[in-house]
Symmetry: C2
Subunit: 190 residues, 2 copies
């Protein structure tokens, strides 16, 4: 039987879960060891740079995942509205209707941001650009597309936060629906 953890990448989901739930400072090597099933020796074998390297790898992994599971379907859809719909479905699933926090967003709020500031900023810049491109392709003027894209990303992050705080997944899904409708309206008017 194959080992459960054969390479570095296999540890990333467990790592992400612990970091997301406990933050960088709160994610102890004990918690990480339990979540990944790896001892200290193995963890430092895969991540010689310790927690910092683990965190960087997780951020990278999330960015890669969004690239293929969210931005690609958004850009490659035959039609802007279909792309937006695909993005929203992926977002709702990934964030579990707002009950699963956005690790990158949460880290941007505190001092954890500093060592990873550029990764965090790049993630959001990329997301905004991906939406903006689709809106421009749909005939919306560039400046307006920028504002709409920022509002959507900001709106999704706010909805995660509020939906989690109020323990109300319905609030997240309803907000996603209204954001989608706003983009459709803007596209219809363009």
């Amino acid at each position: 039987m194959a080992r459960l953890i054969a390479e570095r990448a296999d540890a990333l989901p467990g790592l992400a879960e612990v970091f997301r739930e406990y933050g960088f400072a709160g994610a102890s090597l004990s918690l990480i060891g339990t979540a990944t099933g790896l001892g200290r020796g193995s963890l430092y074998h895969f991540f010689p740079g310790g927690k910092n390297e683990m965190a960087a790898a997780v951020l990278d992994d999330i960015a890669t995942w969004f690239e293929q599971a969210v931005f690609a379907p958004l850009a490659e859809a035959a039609e802007p509205r279909a792309g937006i719909e695909a993005m929203m479905v992926a977002v709702d699933r990934y964030f579990q209707s707002g009950q699963r926090a956005c690790l990158i967003g949460a880290w941007g709020l505190g001092a954890t941001r500093d060592p990873f500031a550029e990764s965090i900023a790049a993630y959001f810049r990329r997301w905004i650009a991906a939406i903006q491109t689709v809106l421009i392709r749909g005939g919306i003027e560039e400046g307006h597309a920028t504002i709409l894209a920022q509002d959507v990303v900001s709106g999704i992050q706010g909805a995660i936060l509020l939906s989690r705080a109020l323990n109300d997944p319905g609030l997240f899904r309803a907000t996603l629906g209204r954001l989608t409708a706003r983009l459709y309206t803007a596209l219809a008017a363009a």
Copy 2:
């Protein structure tokens, strides 16, 4: 000359700053001692329950501050639009155009939420209710007022997060402006 820290309340701003920046787990007693100018002995004199009691006191203090500095002007303005304007000005100043994180929002995203879940939820419920009341007073139907109020609170939180992540205070102010405009439009149509 009077002591700088004469009572528990005097330590709260320093405590809030450390908790906001480093999170609950990352806020060590060393950092807290430096920020407040208090030794361990004094801290445990004022907060016998340790970090948990400090955190609870900070959450309480923030809720009280919002009550008088944000919700009261919102409710007591002669006219709904003036109340909303007063709220937005207070919010922009308090969150320093999005460069200062919302401690309560950030804590809701991680495991720190658990011991304080009710305080966190109550803060956001109260904020939403305060806006909703003003909108209803302005003639907006209750269900619509709920959605608008949720969108505003969620939008503010998302704008803090995105504005901090992108290090762009202008994004926060612009988003506040658009949220205000949406409420004005809804009020004008009511």
